[in-house]
Point group: C2
Chain length 309, copies 2
């Protein structure tokens, strides 16, 4: 049973509406939003990433799922594989910092010893309070909706390349990789205006494809509109390949959302009040899958739409 078959099997088991078919960022149980993400050394983080950064990422990736549902953070349970003494101490520092930053209660969890040499693996369950009007799903995008993203796309992917010494480093991109900033406040504020919302964790294109599939529509992305940071453009030329790389890199932890064009002014006002960028990058249409253009020319979909793991 392949990974895809395994997940299909789990989806067949997860028939309760609270599970949202295991196809959303989180479960919604009553007024609580629940999510569980794991991170594994060598897959989701580098062996020489600092324990503080790993702890931050473990919390932040789960906060990004809450943000996507417009949920307010409540608390976490942590599954921790013990490392050496120095690693444990530094991880605890990073965990405490992240919990404080996001206003999270540490509710419980488990620590386990693993055999020496085992790649580190951590899990975190985050619990949030759903927004009063209900948590948006991925599946509500409608033909005619504008498709928006928060922040900049591709910084973290380039930051990883910088960490690996493949390209000259700058702090903006490195920081986007090391300390992703989930859009919790904006997520909660924008909820009344969105038809669908999810976080961009595996790559803009693959995540947009998931939204299109869940919503039963097509999503057209204009690559020239995808917001790239000055820090990214300082090391990459603004050409199609750069934009495709940014739109298929993972770890952005920005929000991707669909909204009626009539909501654009309200969305921009919310973003301005929080001093964050929001950018329309395309629209939803009748059909299925992703339609990609660059300066009004059709672009073939790349073989990999994002980070598969």
């Amino acid at each position: 049973m392949s990974e895809a078959d395994f997940i299909a099997r789990l989806r067949a088991i997860a028939t309760d509406p609270a599970a949202r078919g295991l196809a959303d960022d989180a479960a919604v149980l009553g007024d609580l939003v629940l999510t569980h993400d794991m991170i594994v050394e060598g897959i989701h983080f580098l062996p020489d990433d600092t324990p503080q950064d790993v702890a931050w990422k473990l919390v932040a990736v789960n906060m990004s799922d809450l943000a996507a549902k417009g949920a307010a953070p409540v608390g976490v349970l942590v599954g921790y594989s013990l490392g050496d003494d120095a690693w444990n101490a530094a991880f605890a520092d990073g965990l405490e910092l992240a919990l404080r930053r996001f206003g999270l209660l540490l509710l419980g969890g488990d620590t386990v010893r693993v055999p020496a040499g085992t790649p580190r693996s951590f899990g975190l369950t985050a619990i949030g309070r759903a927004p009063a009007g209900g948590a948006p799903s991925r599946s509500g995008a409608k033909p005619g909706d504008q498709i928006w993203v928060t922040g900049s796309i591709g910084n973290a992917g380039l930051g990883l390349a910088m960490r690996l010494g493949q390209v000259d480093a700058n702090e903006t991109c490195l920081s986007a990789y090391r300390r992703p900033q989930p859009q919790l406040t904006f997520g909660q504020a924008v909820v009344p205006h969105v038809h669908a919302m999810m976080d961009v964790s595996d790559g803009l294109l693959i995540d947009a494809q998931r939204m299109a599939e869940a919503s039963g529509c097509e999503i057209a992305i204009m690559l020239e509109a995808v917001p790239l940071s000055a820090a990214l453009l300082a090391v990459r030329p603004d050409v199609l390949d750069t934009r495709l790389a940014a739109a298929t890199a993972g770890d952005d932890y920005q929000l991707l959302f669909a909204a009626d064009p009539g909501a654009a002014a309200a969305i921009r006002e919310i973003a301005a009040g929080l001093n964050i960028a929001v950018t329309p990058v395309g629209h939803a249409g009748v059909g299925s899958g992703i339609l990609l253009t660059h300066r009004a020319r059709r672009v073939a979909l790349p073989a990999h739409l994002g980070f598969m793991h």
Copy 2:
């Protein structure tokens, strides 16, 4: 930072009452009970345990925590490290069976790929509904209370020895190791009568010591009263060493609870109605720690009171 220091550090962070100081079986958030336990190959299960048994154990150990809080099962989020195709399929079978058995919704989770050769590691977050009168803690035992356990003690520990070929096997003990049966129904029913309750997961003595410490009292255990099954006594003589081994073996997943002696009749009636055994094994007194006797003679505490992991 050692494991003990790491946990002490987390406890210092977990100041909200919902976390119960990370010293209880579960967190209690509003009317929900939340727990997260991990199991690791080579630590909590054997490399050649069947995937079905591993899935059952992953669910059951967390259900035992809910049982200890008198909670009704609601749902789970599963953190799964992908194995080979056959392993995945068999694990899914076992998971589905366990979820059905305990009436659990599969709410969400995460699947990750891990490098080949990595010991398998799984996490599960279980969510339960707290009993109407509130979830009992470990810390409520009072001097004068009777100390009770459900079921038999030591079967799973001997079952593990059978799995390892160290002793002639029988189905009762093997089954206790392979498919622990958390006492959910009894836990919910007995709640109004207990002062303190927890599950016996690491060994009766170490868990009783934890209850004593949390409650600020002494707990005296009469080893001759510890309920041993006929299956265990079929392969071990009823001597002090057998009783010490049973009381310090892990994986029982029985309930340990403290109650006023006046509640004994009610407790026995509940147990009889559910066709399970309950046995008074000692009492709480003024003091601290564990006081061990065997046929009215003081017994020195063994070096290891249970399974430390």
